[in-house]
């Protein structure tokens, strides 16, 4: 449970709140303490007054007792009184009492005499003064005291005793004094009313006094006794006075004005409150000041740095000052470490994003950026620049025949060589593959660029040496000028490209863009676009060429072949468009398209009970596509064709030169149950040992050997050796280019497994193939 909701609140406020809360609690504590203190003080005052009443009333009653004894002493002083007592002469005694009573009652004033009794030595009433005491008779007044006196022993009967006693709702004070000193003659009992004497407490202490009897009757009340409604501002302290029996006889109450006390208490409380408030405020300010220095400021600096990073990554690696609490310091240290690491990481990423990893040259993205800047600069300065697009000639052949490592090395050397010729301020970039580009600011005119272009061409005239092979790598350069040949980056690129294509054909090695070029070059260029279009417009078709099992002479399979019927150009051979597709990345969709269509037909035939093995050619580029096995699997599933019915054909060159990359994909395909066939076997430089390690199921002898097998003995030897070799490796052997029965019979002799060629059938439409395929058996 969260006492103070501080979620999402600024740190400073979330600190303020608890401090404020503590302040409020402190002041509340002061108030409560002040209240308790006030109550305690008033209670103490009340108790003190009670103690004073106790002491004072004790003193006053002692005085009253003394006065009563003096009176008793005075009464018995006359010998005839004592004699009358001894002789029990009631009349005389009563006469004495009457006389003394009036004398004392009238004159003394110090005591309020109510009654006098004389008792004989056995405590029997002998005589009494005539005043009425309400209840009458001795038997009813202060009985307990008399009883107590009667039960004393020996000399104790001579002692005077006195005490309070209640009689008939009024409070009396009785003193029993012996008559005689050494010898006991009887007793005088002096009954007085104590309230008047006790009222002296009020006078002495300067407080109003009120004396109340046991039954609530007011015995005395000062004139200035506070009225009931004023009693909130006074303390009433009451003290009960008791008889020896423990019975309360009367209660003395004093009223103490606490106006002054209250005022003092209030002043004290206000003082403490002010002090507490100031202390709280001081502590809060000090705490905040400390927190500001140790927590808030460093946090703020960190936050600012972070926000700076958010705005601009260039701040990565900048350090923040390490100050504040230990936690904040570790946070700042961690931040510094993180920003340093991120900075270097970001640098690497930038390098990776904008640099070509092979040559270290800027890539297409960076070139575009530079071109954008250059366009802006030229617009400002009314200047021009040239965009050169350079493409290596015959690079594909180098790559295909000597392998990618050699190709890579060639690219690196070319990059270095061209870079040497370019000037400071020129931007040189590798666009990808064997394509380079350069941005050249032009000082005077277009002719400025020509010498440089010629130097570039002549630099490439010298052979490039890789692994002791001297390779002649030509270069074709297309040049477009900004802003003459295009105001937009894209236009400029396209026009430089067109010029480059033109250069490939004009034998000069370079070409400036000219809008008349467009028509021609676009024809070549558009082939790519049209191919893409063909994929969607169905001008492509799959043809099937039958494959015959040599042993039985029956159709055992078919090779799917792509035919493009161009609406304007007519039939376009695969030799024309496949390289374009490979160069432009269209090869993957094209391959999948062929697979999809041929598997669709294959699936139909399978469901009709006509089992054939379908062979589809895979381009070298396809083996770089990690998604290939998954895509093939999807298509197999789509058309319900078991993988065993599919053979994928890869040319020997691809397998040998790109074996490492191809290997994992081939293994995956093999694991699925798909057969792998090596196409054009015999034209490359196969290493048999290598072949053995690959998951290959079939080799296809190149048709150049098979066509001449009957006329050329060396070809016949090659074919025979290849069949034997294949069988020894446990591979199926297919012969391509079988055009005559003679050749077919020869293959039969060699125990070649499968035969394919015009003798058995040309590539044909699915419908035609379906017709020659053995019909479903009833």
């Amino acid at each position: 449970m969260q006492l103070i909701p501080t979620q999402g609140m600024p740190l400073r406020r979330s600190l303020w709140l608890p401090i404020l809360a503590m302040g409020v609690v402190a002041i509340a504590l002061v108030l409560v303490t002040a209240h308790i203190y006030r109550d305690l003080t008033i209670e103490n005052r009340r108790q003190a007054i009670q103690q004073v009443i106790q002491i004072k009333s004790g003193e006053l009653l002692l005085k009253l007792a003394d006065d009563s004894r003096s009176l008793a002493s005075e009464i018995q002083r006359k010998p005839d009184f004592r004699n009358a007592v001894d002789q029990a002469d009631q009349a005389v005694v009563a006469g004495h009492l009457e006389e003394q009573f009036h004398r004392y009652f009238n004159t003394a004033g110090v005591i309020r005499l109510r009654k006098l009794y004389v008792l004989d030595r056995n405590y029997h009433l002998l005589a009494e003064s005539s005043q009425q005491l309400g209840g009458g008779g001795l038997g009813k007044v202060c009985v307990a005291m008399l009883d107590q006196a009667r039960h004393r022993s020996g000399a104790h009967h001579l002692k005077t005793i006195s005490g309070l006693c209640a009689a008939n709702g009024t409070a009396l004070f009785a003193t029993l004094a012996p008559i005689g000193s050494l010898q006991l003659h009887g007793f005088i009992m002096v009954i007085t009313e104590p309230s008047q004497n006790l009222a002296a407490i009020g006078r002495e202490l300067g407080m109003p006094v009120k004396i109340v009897s046991s039954n609530g009757g007011v015995l005395f009340q000062s004139p200035n006794w506070p009225a009931a409604r004023d009693q909130t501002e006074v303390i009433i302290a009451e003290y009960p006075l008791k008889a020896d029996t423990g019975e309360t006889v009367l209660t003395v109450a004093l009223a103490n004005d606490i106006h002054v006390l209250e005022r003092e208490l209030l002043r004290a409380r206000n003082g403490v409150l002010t002090a507490a408030g100031i202390a709280t405020a001081l502590v809060a300010l000090l705490t905040l000041f400390g927190l500001q220095r140790s927590l808030l400021n460093p946090l703020h600096r960190l936050l600012q740095k972070m926000q700076g990073l958010e705005r601009d990554r260039k701040h990565l690696g900048e350090q923040v000052a390490v100050t504040g609490n230990r936690e904040i310091r570790s946070l700042a240290q961690a931040f510094n470490q993180m920003t340093t690491e991120l900075g270097s990481l970001y640098g690497k990423l930038e390098e990776m994003a904008f640099r070509d990893s092979l040559t270290g040259l800027p890539n297409r993205s960076l070139l575009n950026e530079h071109m954008g800047q250059m366009i802006n600069q030229c617009n400002r300065e009314n200047a021009r620049f040239a965009l050169l697009i350079m493409d290596l000639d015959r690079f594909k052949q180098i790559n295909d025949s000597l392998g990618h490592p050699v190709g890579d090395s060639v690219l690196q050397q070319v990059a270095a060589r061209l870079n040497e010729i370019l000037r400071q301020g020129d931007v040189f970039s590798r666009l990808g593959g064997d394509e380079f580009a350069a941005l050249l600011p032009i000082a005077n005119g277009i002719d400025d660029t020509l010498p440089l272009v010629k130097r570039l061409l002549s630099a490439m005239g010298k052979p490039i040496v890789v692994e002791q092979n001297a390779l002649h790598v030509g270069i074709s350069i297309g040049i477009a000028i900004y802003p003459d040949d295009g105001a937009q980056r894209e236009d400029l690129m396209r026009h430089a490209d067109v010029a480059m294509y033109h250069a490939k054909h004009n034998q000069r090695g370079f070409s400036f863009y000219d809008h008349t070029l467009d028509k021609n070059s676009l024809a070549l260029l558009t082939l790519e676009a049209e191919l893409l279009q063909a994929l969607t417009e169905e001008t492509l078709q799959v043809y099937f060429q039958p494959k015959i099992a040599v042993a039985t002479g029956e159709i055992c399979g078919a090779e799917a072949l792509l035919r493009w019927h161009h609406p304007q150009r007519g039939w376009v051979g695969p030799d024309e468009f496949i390289p374009i597709a490979e160069d432009t990345g269209l090869i993957a969709p094209l391959t999948y398209w062929v697979l999809d269509r041929s598997l669709a037909h294959c699936g139909d035939w399978l469901r009709e009970g006509r089992l054939i093995n379908l062979a589809v050619n895979l381009s070298a580029r396809c083996l770089h596509d990690e998604a290939l096995p998954l895509e093939v699997r999807k298509l197999l599933d789509k058309h319900a064709v078991p993988p065993e019915q599919l053979t994928l054909e890869i040319t020997e060159n691809v397998i040998m030169h790109d074996a490492k990359r191809a290997h994992s994909i081939l293994v995956q395909l093999d694991a699925m149950g798909i057969s792998i066939s090596v196409d054009d076997f015999g034209t490359g430089h196969s290493s048999l040992a290598y072949l053995k390690r690959l998951p290959v199921d079939e080799i296809k002898i190149d048709k150049s050997f098979v066509l001449e097998v009957m006329n050329n003995p060396s070809d016949a030897t090659i074919v025979r050796a290849t069949v034997e070799l294949g069988h020894n490796l446990g591979l199926r052997v297919v012969a391509e280019g079988v055009e005559t029965e003679e050749i077919f019979n020869y293959l039969k002799q060699l125990n070649c497994d499968v035969s394919q060629g015009y003798f058995h059938g040309r590539p044909m439409t699915p419908e035609q193939f379906s017709e020659i395929l053995r019909p479903v058996q009833a």
């Binding site: 002493s73 002692k159 000193s181 010898q183």
Partner: protein, 143 residues
Amino acid sequence: MTHVMKCVLLIFLSVFNAGAFAEPIVPVPEQIPGAKRVDAETVIEVAGRLKNLVIVDSRIPDDRKIGYIEHSISLPDAKTNCKSLAKIIPGKSTPVLFYCNGVKCGRSVVATKIALQCGYKNIYWFRGGFEEWKSKEYPFLHE
């Protein structure tokens, strides 16, 4: 020689102190051989038992004005001798009680010793005297 010195010192101190306290300094013993020491209660008991008890107040008349024990006869110690005693005590074996102000007052001691010398046999000495009587709240009379 030492005896003379002591006497001189004693007289000197007596004269000096008399001026200050108007009370002779006499060392009050715990007991007086030959006399029975009693307290207030015993006084009352003896007075009740022996009807012929003579109570002698050895104080000067001024002190007696504060109050006196009933039936006591005033005979200050300075006036106490065999002759004055004989006037108030019927016989040598009559019970007789001496008291004065209290333990600091030596008058009853002096009177008791004189009475012993005079040959009285039945002497009670109330050592606490009037102070004890009063403090125990026993009744006394005023002249």
